[in-house]
Structures are given as structure tokens and as C-alpha cells.
């Protein structure tokens, strides 16, 4: 990225007159860029304005205006608020806008997702296939006129189960019989999927000219979706030359439940427990991001004690998540579960705190718009709550981390297997929208808690941990460093937290009046930047609810990281990225 000779203060509308205009809809901000100038504007935003990092790409279907909109959020690595720009396309026919993969590699999967869910094509995208749905899926599920069978009013089969006393199952008459809609002239019995064949052809290089295709003994292997170390139903298709990886493509969507569609059906508050299920190892952080996004729209002020409780829970959650991530990483290195179980011991205690406070160990559903739902209990495990947490934070967790360091950090096998493996250079990490420990292990000190402080992070003293090399070993070390920083934060929180006080802004209520507008709430989740883009049209439910899932976007670079390494390294690199399939597939 070329640094601008002098800081550009010129407004985008002046820089590109005619092509860029301010978004003037009430409650909206940012710019609207015309589609034919998009690549040029995006390059300028990246190179001249210094927004090097494309955080989020998503679509919105404004059916009343007959428009599809793609919303981009770009950030500066030096921090500050993100820049939001939009492109609009007519929703009828075959809408198409230019792809930004050439500008930001990180747009790759996200554009595929928009295409998959909205049917908006991105011209110039190198590999525009469906990503979450399967290749033969009929329709664009996130469009407002796509009704989910059995769940949305027009498609519900239950309206008249007993018309005129005659009994029939309306499912039999439903045009979506068996929950599937077939295109005309389609016979499911004689159908054979060619979705995988397309992918394999791509891997075999059949799109290349004849002379570049060399028939060697390369084999294509499917790892997953049922595989012991893909951390869930994740699949990678690998082209192997002996033991070496020649090419790799991730395939996902096996756990896709259209979280966002469900989110648009639910009322604002009903989404809170759903966020727990995204990255189910860090439910607290998920709650926090969603609460922030909606609070921005509502404009509620979170009471002091509630802020401290939030940070307390989120940082405990970060430690729990990193313990688990490290345990699994070592497991992927072939250790027979031992380190994982040692770390799980500490994680259990953190989950005990969650259970005593929120009522559940993982699906916490703890935060509300304007506060948290419950105060700390008086006792945990027959101990005074504060004593329990203080003991955990001050004694047990540091001791456990020291133990990890002595047992694992300088283990010869771990070092030889992880140093220099899966190196992600800083430049590519930024360009590819890597987030969280993956980004910081490449030496980029970008942490939203510092870059764009939310909650009370601006008054807490902690360091943004980075490591210079960007390999698997550094990702492991960054996680350990971050846990130490989290302990530091927790100590300050325990010291400064008001002993009592309100935990909710006003009354807690079931329905919220959310003013019109858009909002992007983001938090530094253990796995990276977790963003929620929500749009309200004043209805009791979100008009648009999008999750910028760090696990999903971090996978964009998996192929590049693995190329040239051995089969065994795929698993390790995947483990070092630390994904949760609930969040990848949503």
C-alpha cells in the first residue's frame, strides 16, 4: 500500500465528483458510489485515504426501492471509525457490480456470500460460486421476496388444517412439498450433482489452456466434512503432490442455517440468544457486539457497573476461548489430548462463573440493550463470588499460563512443527482482512479495543500483543500474550468496578422501539473483529441483520497459507486460525 505523500482531507465527493455522493437517508451515513467507478474509488480509499483494511462486505435488499445495495466498511490500521460506502444495483434482471477482490483480497469470500444470498453478481471475481448454499440451490435466500418454507407467513402450511371438517395434510398440497422447490422440468430421481465436479475441474486446472495442464500423479483429496480435525463440518479439497499441498480450496456451508434470515424474522431482542450460537466458544463477546450495534441506534447509555460486568465477562471469555484454541492446536499437532485437558480444567472454572451469573455455561444470553440481564451472584461453588473470581484471575490462571509455557512453548517437537509453517505476511494479512490473533501474529498491532475503543476499554491499561513472524508458532504465542493481557484487564476491572449500582439503562423490556437507520457495531472478539451490521425501518424486527464473522473471513487466506506445505500442516494451520463452524457457516 502506497502511503500518500500528504494526508488527504478532501472529501470523497469532491475527489470523485459525480461518481460519489453522500448517503442522505435519515439515520444513514457514508457514501454511495456508482457501480462503474467502484474499483477506482475503492483503490483511492485504500491508497490515498489510508483505509487499508476492508472489514465487511454485505448486501441489503431494499425491495420497496427496487434496489440491491452492497455495503462496504473499510478501516484504517491506525485506528478510528470505519468508513462506510455503498453501491446500488437494480434488483431485477441479473444485477452485476464490479468485484473488489483485486483491491482487497478479503472481499473474496464475502462477495461470494453476497452473490450466494442475494444473487448479485460480481464481475471479475476469480471464483464466483455459491459458498454457503449448495451449487444447485434455487433462489436467493436473503432477498426479501424469498420466503422460507414453513416459517414465513405466506409459506406457512398451517393456516387451515381443518377446512370444512375435512382432514388433509396441507404439506401435501404445498408447492414447496418436502421443503424443496424444484425448477421446471427437473426430476430429482435422475439428478446427479455437478457442484463438486465443477470444483474438482477447477482443481485439476481444466480452465487452463491445454499446454499448462500437466498430467502428473497429483491426487485430489477431500478432507472433511467428516474428519476428526476440521473442527466441525468443514471441508477442504486438497490437491496433493505426494505429501505436499499444491492447491487447496475450502468448502463450507454444511452448518448453514441462514442465521441472518432468522435474525430478520426475530424481534430485536430475540436475536440476542441467537448470537450465542455463532461462535459458541465466546458467547459473551457475540452478545456484546450485537448489543453495541443496536445501542448505537437506540442511543441508550449503559450504566457504569454494567460496562464493567460486560468487560469482566468478555475478557474471561477471551481467556476461555484462547485456552481452548491452544489446546486444540496442540491436539492438531498430534498430542494425544493431554494439553487440551489440562487447559480445559481452567476453562471449566470460567464457565462456572458464567453459569452462576448468566445461567448457562456457553449459551449465556447475558447482555441486553442498555445493560446486562443479571448482576453477579453472591456465591459461586460455595465461595464468595469476588473471592472466587479474584483467586482465579490472580492465582490460578497465571499459574496455568506459566505451566503451559514451561511444558509447551519450548517443546522441541512443537517448535519444529510450527515455526515457519503457514506464514502470513503482514501486507497480505491486512489486504486479506485477517482479524484477531491471525492479524496480530503477523506483526500488525490492530486491536479494536485500542483502535476504535468501545465500552470502557479506553480507561483500561493493556498492551496490543503482536509477534513479528506470522507463522503458527507466533499465533500460538500471541494467544498466550493476549491471555496475560486479559488477566491484566481483569485485575483492573475487579479493582475499579463499582460495588453496586444499576445494571440496566431504564426498565428492561421485551420490545424496543428502534429508530430508522443503519449501524455497524464491532468488537474485538477472541477470533477477531466481530461486526454486526443492522438496518432498522422502525419495525419490531431488524430490516437487515448481518454478521461479519471473523472465522469465516479468516479462512479466505487458508489456501495461500497451506500451499507448499505438507498434508499434516493443513490441520495445524487450520487449528492456528482457530475457527468455529457455527460462525463460519452461520
Amino acid at each position: 500500500m502506497v502511503a500518500p505523500s500528504k494526508p488527504i482531507t478532501q472529501d470523497l465527493t469532491e475527489r470523485f465528483p459525480g461518481a460519489v455522493s453522500k448517503d442522505t437517508r435519515p439515520g444513514y451515513e457514508g457514501y454511495i458510489v456508482s457501480a462503474n467507478k467502484l474499483t477506482e474509488v475503492a483503490t483511492a480509499i485504500r491508497d490515498e485515504y489510508g483505509y487499508e483494511y476492508l472489514a465487511s462486505v454485505t448486501g441489503v435488499d431494499y425491495i420497496a426501492d427496487g434496489k440491491l445495495e452492497v455495503v462496504y466498511h473499510a478501516s484504517k490500521m491506525s485506528g478510528g471509525a470505519s468508513l462506510n460506502f455503498k453501491v446500488q444495483a437494480p434488483r431485477d434482471g441479473e444485477p452485476e457490480i464490479p468485484s473488489l477482490v483485486g483491491v482487497w483480497q478479503g472481499a473474496d469470500f464475502q462477495e461470494r456470500e453476497v452473490y450466494d444470498l442475494y444473487g448479485l453478481r460480481f464481475s471479475g471475481h476469480p471464483d464466483l460460486r455459491r459458498i454457503l448454499m449448495w451449487e444447485e440451490f434455487e433462489g436467493w435466500p436473503m432477498r426479501k421476496d424469498w420466503k422460507e418454507v414453513y416459517y414465513e407467513q405466506d409459506a406457512k402450511p398451517f393456516k387451515t388444517r381443518w377446512p370444512e371438517g375435512s382432514v388433509y395434510r396441507i404439506e401435501e398440497k404445498n408447492r414447496f412439498n418436502k421443503n424443496v422447490r424444484y425448477p421446471k422440468g427437473f426430476d430429482p430421481r435422475s439428478f446427479k450433482s455437478d457442484g463438486d465436479e465443477k470444483l474438482y475441474a477447477l482443481m485439476r486446472g481444466e480452465h487452463l489452456p491445454e499446454h499448462q495442464r500437466i498430467n502428473t500423479d497429483e491426487i485430489i483429496v477431500n478432507m472433511g466434512p467428516q474428519h476428526p480435525s476440521t473442527h466441525g463440518v468443514f471441508r477442504v479439497v486438497v490437491k496433493l503432490d505426494g505429501e505436499s499441498v499444491v492447491d487447496l480450496k475450502p468448502v463450507m456451508g454444511y452448518l448453514h442455517r441462514n442465521h441472518e434470515k432468522i435474525g430478520e424474522r426475530n424481534t430485536w431482542l430475540m436475536n440476542m440468544p441467537y448470537t450465542d450460537r455463532l461462535d459458541y466458544l465466546s458467547g459473551m463477546g457475540n452478545n456484546h457486539g450485537y448489543a453495541l450495534a443496536v445501542e448505537k441506534l437506540i442511543g441508550s447509555k449503559v450504566p457504569e457497573r454494567a460496562e464493567y460486568l460486560r468487560v469482566l465477562m468478555v475478557e474471561l471469555n477471551r481467556i476461555a476461548n484462547h485456552l481452548w484454541a491452544i489446546g486444540f492446536l496442540i491436539n492438531d499437532l498430534g498430542a494425544f489430548q493431554t494439553p487440551m485437558l489440562y487447559l480445559a480444567k481452567q476453562r471449566e472454572l470460567i464457565l462456572d462463573i458464567f453459569e452462576a451469573t448468566a445461567g448457562s455455561r456457553m449459551m449465556c444470553n447475558y447482555m441486553r440493550f442498555g445493560g446486562v440481564v443479571r448482576d453477579l451472584p453472591s456465591r459461586i461453588r460455595d465461595e464468595d463470588t469476588l473471592d472466587f473470581i479474584t483467586d482465579l484471575v490472580a492465582e490460578r490462571l497465571p499459574a496455568a499460563l506459566d505451566e503451559i509455557e514451561t511444558l509447551l512453548t519450548f517443546n522441541e517437537i512443537i517448535r519444529t512443527r510450527s515455526i515457519g509453517v503457514g506464514v502470513l505476511p503482514a501486507k497480505q494479512a491486512i489486504n486479506g482482512s485477517a482479524a484477531g490473533p491471525l492479524l496480530r501474529a503477523s506483526g500488525v498491532p490492530y486491536d479494536l479495543r485500542r483502535a476504535d475503543p468501545y465500552s470502557i476499554y479506553d480507561r483500561l491499561d493493556f498492551k496490543v500483543c503482536t509477534r513479528p513472524n506470522g507463522d503458527v508458532y507466533d499465533r500460538y504465542l500471541v494467544r498466550i500474550d493476549e491471555m496475560r493481557e486479559s488477566i491484566k484487564i481483569l485485575k483492573q476491572v475487579l479493582r475499579d468496578m463499582p460495588a453496586s449500582g444499576a445494571i440496566m439503562d431504564g426498565e428492561s423490556k421485551y420490545t424496543h422501539k428502534v429508530p430508522n437507520g443503519e449501524s455497524y457495531g464491532r468488537v474485538e472478539n477472541p477470533k477477531g473483529e466481530l461486526g454486526y451490521y443492522v438496518v432498522s425501518n422502525g419495525a419490531p424486527n431488524p430490516y437487515r441483520y448481518h454478521v461479519r464473522a471473523p472465522s469465516f473471513i479468516n479462512l479466505t487466506m487458508l489456501g495461500d497459507l497451506c500451499k507448499g506445505h505438507k498434508v499434516a500442516d493443513i490441520v495445524v494451520i487450520l487449528g492456528s486460525i482457530d475457527i468455529v463452524l457455527g460462525e463460519v457457516d452461520r
Binding site: E243, G334, I413, I414
Partner: protein, 337 residues
Amino acid sequence: MNEVTVIIIDAAIKAAVMALVLLTGFAYMTYAERKVIAGIQVRRGPNRIGPLGLLQPAADGVKLFLKEDMMPTGADKLMFNLAPIITSIPALVIMAVIPVAPDWIVNGYTVRFVVADLNVGVLYLLAIGSIAVYGIVLAGWASDSKYSMMGGLRSTAQVISYELAFGLSMVGPMLLAQSMSLRDIVHAQEARGIWFMFLQPIGFLLFFITGLAELNRAPFDMPEAEQELTAGYFTEYSSMRFGMFFMAEYIKMIAVSGMVVTLYMGGYLGPFVNQFPPLGIAYFSAKVFFLLFTMIWIRGTLPRLRYDQLMSFGWKFALPVAMLNVLATAIVLVYVM
């Protein structure tokens, strides 16, 4: 009864006992492994079936028998069936040449605590040990699965690479004892009054490490690397055919421990073993148990090496060191002693 009949009956009894002991040993090895690893991992391990979970192996056996036996459609039927047998038979017969106690004269009849005292016992160990790898390769090839195939190939490469260092580290004791018979090697250790592991520390360590690699045990369990190849060469096997691979692996663990004990740790030697020879069985077993425990301990502690690292360790380190060790031993024996 003529002499031949006696020899045949004698060998048959000993072989039967040996097979029985090994099969029971296998069953309880699985139990021991689970218990020891549970201990390492701050868990309890199997404790539901029988007192202390001691009947767990029986339950596992029953389970394996009752499981559906599946074969992939594209598999080569003959080879697919043959592979587990080829792997498990050598594991069972490898112990035949290892003496577990000194000769015992009862009522004028000499009881030899070895099934067959070959004068080329060491060669026998090497030869039989290498046959097992055919089973693995065939299993990988016959399964018609890419994972199995890769497991099989890795295994071939691994066993061939480590065979050399493994074989060379057997040469030290052979030179010291000036015999290839395992009984003579134990006798030599008795005569010198010191176990060969102290005379040949490098050879001993190499032998144990390469033994682990021969066994496909952690940290060299490449062919069945769960994290990468799901289960390696036996991915497609189920039911008792899987059980046979499992059995072969554990019995080979016992066999390799027996080899290490005999060659380097004085075999059955121990106090008063000459006064009351059956005591040798106890000493021999105790040493074998110690080595088995060490193997389980290593598995519970260490991550796995990567395939290429394993190969470079085998060829660039283990093999040259083993050769130098043999050379040094020979020079010392000829010119110094």
C-alpha cells in the same frame, strides 16, 4: 514316546502358552494404555465394567465382534481380507525366539523357556518384524481409499527408513556377545556382569527410538495420524478386521519391548534367577512392563513429528549414528580388548 514327539509336544505347549499370554497381554495393554493416559490427563479412565474397569477389554472384544463388518465397494476383496492376517501373524510369532527365563532342570528334564532357540535369532527378529509392513501396505492399497493409501505409503517409507537404523543398532550386542542367538546375548550380559544398555548407551537409545518408529507409535505414529489421515491405513476397516490391526499393534509393542529387554537390558537376568529359574519370567515381565509404560507415557506427552521431519531424522541422524556406533564398537572390540 520318541524324541521327535517330545519336541513337537514341547514346542506346541510353549507356543500355545505364548499365544495365550500375548493375547491376554494385548487385551490388558489396551486397558493399561487407557488407564495410564487417563492418569496423565487427570481423568479416571475406564472404571465401569468390573472392579476398576478390569473387564473393559472383554467388553471391547465383544463390541468389536458384534460390529458390522464393512468393506468398501472398490476394495480388492482378497487383499482386503488378507491384510489384517498378514499383519497380526508376525506380531504373534516374533516372540518365539526370545528366552524369558534360564533353563530349568525338573526331574532330569530340561525346560527351556523359549519356543525355539535359533542360532540366528536376531536375524529372525528382523525378518519377521518386516513382514508385518506388507499387511499395512496391502491394507492401504486394497481399501481403495485415498486416506488408506497415503497411510500405507507413509508406513512403507517409514518402516524401510527405520529398518536400517533399527537393524544396525542390533549389531552392537551381537558383536559384544559374538553370537546371533538371543540366549547367548543374555548369557554374555551375565558373563560380563553388566547390561549392554550401559556398554552401548547410544545403541540402546537408538534401538528404542527406532523401535517406536517401527511400531508406528507416538511420536512416530504417522501412518495412522488421526489428525490428518483420520486413521491411516485402517480407515476403511471395521469390526474384527480392525480388531486384528489393533491387536497386531499392541502385540508388537510387547514384542519390541521384549527385544529391547533381551538385547540391552539383560533379558531375564536378576537376583537369584539361577537358583530358581522361573523367577526369570517375573524379571523379564517387569522390564517389559517398564518399557511399555514408557511408550504409553511418551504417547500421552508428546505431539507428533511431521512426515518429512521423521524421514530426515531417520536418514540424516539415526542411520549415520547407528553406523558410527557399530564402527566404534567393532574397533574397540578388535584393537582395544
